[in-house]
């Protein structure tokens, strides 16, 4: 009896009363969560970094510690050193890495500004049409966001088909002569250093992606109090002046957010490249994401692939920081 009281007392002191219940709740939830995060969130990041220092292939056994070492030898910074080899006798891997960086940067730096230049006016236009028409337009532009990117890629592949495609059909109809342009397959179609095949992937991506930012901008536009624009109108401001001096500054935080999110996702695009072009023609559309996937899972060079993925992360990270800095200083002028 006495020992029972002591046991209960100790239990009460250990776990407390009401506060103890909260502590137990937090422990009960957080312990499995921490274990999960350690395995599926922390470990992959550390492991990816570690992999990049080894010549690792999942086909070889290696040492007992994550398979690193043994016949998966440690190479230190060798992968990163190779990446800086810009000479003409660099290995194919290295040359493809350079192409990947170029393709991915081109893709992102074309996609982000074009996307914002389309979506912001589009959102403003949709906001100013009649209430009945608004949901119709919104749905039309938003629908591609919901479609599977694989379906989109296959569809665009047919639209751009040299013989049976819709685009060449329309050009033929408009110009009056049969047009057979291999949009995704002709390596000689390069304008200002940008391959046309890459432009076509960009077009498909913009088509499926504008709905996102459009919706975000519509919401931001609706959040601007009407009294502000009304006051300006009473003071004799034109529609353009209102947009330029009231709407645009008020939208700056949203533009910042949208541009960073669009940039981050543009760097990660994989599906369209894999299904539409597979890097063709002549590696002209071999984006980093595609290159990493191929190196790791087709050629089993996971160490090299991991090093490339670390570089991809660093590029995304640095560009987001710069973007945040640039747009914020303008915002606080």
């Amino acid at each position: 009896m006495a020992s029972e009281t002591i046991r209960l007392e100790r239990r009460r002191r250990l776990f407390g009363g009401r506060e103890g219940a909260q502590k137990r709740f937090v422990t009960a939830v957080m312990s499995p969560a921490i274990v999960f995060m350690a395995i599926f969130m922390v470990l992959p990041i550390v492991w990816a970094l570690a992999l990049s220092f080894f010549d690792f292939s999942p086909r070889r056994t290696g040492s007992p510690i994550l398979g690193l070492g043994g016949d998966n030898p440690f190479v230190g910074l060798e992968h990163y050193r190779q990446m800086t080899d810009f000479s003409s006798d660099a290995t194919l891997n290295v040359r493809q890495f350079h192409i990947g960086v170029k393709v991915t940067l081109l893709f992102a730096f074309i996609v982000v500004p074009v996307n914002l230049l389309i979506t912001l006016p589009l959102a403003a236009m949709i906001e100013s049409v009649h209430d009945r028409a608004r949901p119709i337009f919104r749905t039309i532009f938003f629908l591609p966001v919901l479609a599977s990117s694989v379906g989109v890629a296959i569809m665009w592949g047919f639209i751009l088909h040299p013989q049976n495609g819709l685009l060449n059909l329309m050009i033929s109809k408009m110009t009056g002569k049969t047009t057979v342009i291999s949009w995704l397959g002709d390596p000689d179609l390069v304008y200002f250093g940008v391959p046309v095949a890459l432009l076509m992937v960009i077009a498909a991506y913009l088509w499926m992606d504008i709905g996102y930012n459009m919706v975000i901008f519509i919401a931001a536009l609706q959040a601007i109090p009407r009294s502000v624009t009304d006051a300006a109108r009473v003071d004799g401001a034109s529609a353009w002046q209102i947009f330029r001096h009231i709407t645009l500054p008020l939208l700056r935080p949203t533009i910042l957010l949208a541009s960073i999110l669009t940039m981050i996702s543009a760097f990660q695009v994989f599906d369209l490249f894999q299904v539409m072009t597979e890097g063709r023609p002549d590696d002209q559309t071999l984006a980093m994401s595609l290159n990493i996937y191929r190196s790791a899972f087709r050629y089993q060079q996971m160490g090299w692939a991991a090093a490339m993925s670390v570089v991809l992360f660093l590029i995304v990270f640095v560009i987001s920081l710069v973007q945040a800095r640039l747009l914020r200083t303008k915002w606080e002028y």
Binding site: M30, A33, R132, L143, S309
Partner: protein, 299 residues
């Protein structure tokens, strides 16, 4: 451009306003005509690819291959759909089931862990709370290309490759969901939680009967977004699932189009079967998705 109308800014799907618009001058009217014309042209461009895909799925093979190609089907046929639905190599029902299973499990896991961890991070004090929370948020910055290599090796160790659970388990906790749910739960008054405690409710009970019921709208939106992302996911299923009968729809679609690369009519019909039904469902639920995106700015 500045003809914005008064609107309830909190609710995107606001009821149609009935207030009369102020009369506008002639200049405005011609401006509106241009506005509608521009929007309509852009809308046609946006809708054209879908329209062409659907039309092509009703064309016989000869017509799809015709040079120059046609826009409207000359002789519509359902043969393409018949061929696909009767193809013994393409048990569509199985692949729909695989995709649906994965997506539903993703939704359940994401909503459960998102709301529970969001609650913990919003309403409880404990050591390293801020550090753990910001770590979770920071993982959203890391491209999937970084974590997919170790992720593959981890599944290899756990013997979960070629297993649908291999898609589900690694994304059991979704950083975005935790972040969004925390934001919503922060606005639940502490008094409500404390008075439930004083009444003797257990912590799980408070989560279930006080917190969850107030999260209905964000949970619905988040659930739909999660379902959509899972249904359309391509890269991770491509890595994890290599056995044909374990695969999900997007991978099957690329496989099928690779196998029938000369028969565009079949591939178009297959794409319609896999893309359009989901599109219709989500177009109907668009209100919720749009609201979720605008509330959270999520991608």
């Amino acid at each position: 451009m500045a003809t914005t109308t008064p609107k309830d800014v909190r609710v995107l799907a606001a009821p149609r306003e009935t207030e009369a618009r102020p009369a506008r001058g002639r200049r405005h009217r011609s401006g509106r005509v241009i506005l509608y014309a521009v929007l309509t042209i852009l809308g046609v461009i946006a809708a054209l690819p879908f329209v062409w895909m659907i039309l092509s799925s009703f064309k016989p093979e000869a017509e799809v291959r015709a040079i120059p190609p046609t826009f409207w089907p000359q002789e519509g046929t359902l043969d393409n759909y018949r061929t696909i639905l009767n193809d013994p190599e393409l048990p569509l029902g199985l692949f729909y089931r695989n995709s649906a299973f994965v997506a539903v499990m993703h939704v359940i896991a994401t909503l459960f862990t998102g709301s529970l961890l969001g609650y913990i991070f919003a309403k409880f004090e404990f050591r390293f709370r801020a550090a753990v929370f910001w770590f979770i948020v920071a993982t959203m910055m890391i491209p999937p290309q970084v974590t997919m290599l170790p992720g593959y090796l981890i599944l290899l160790q756990m013997n979960l490759l070629n297993n649908l659970w291999g898609l589900i388990i690694p994304s059991f906790i979704d950083a975005f969901a935790v972040f969004v749910m925390r934001q919503f739960i922060l606005s639940i008054p502490n008094d409500e939680i404390w008075s439930a405690r004083v009444d003797g409710a257990s912590e799980w009970r408070i989560y279930r009967s006080i917190v969850l019921p107030q999260l209905r709208a964000p949970l619905a939106t988040l659930g739909m977004l999660t379902f959509m992302f899972s249904w359309n996911a391509y890269l991770w299923p491509l890595i994890v699932l290599t056995e044909q009968n374990k695969r999900t729809l997007p991978i099957i679609l690329t496989w099928y189009s690779g196998h029938h690369s000369a028969q565009n009519n079949l591939i178009m019909a297959a794409s319609v079967l896999m893309v359009i039904p989901v599109l219709i469902v989500f177009a109907l639920a668009q209100k919720w998705i749009v609201r979720g995106l605008t509330l959270t700015g999520g991608r």
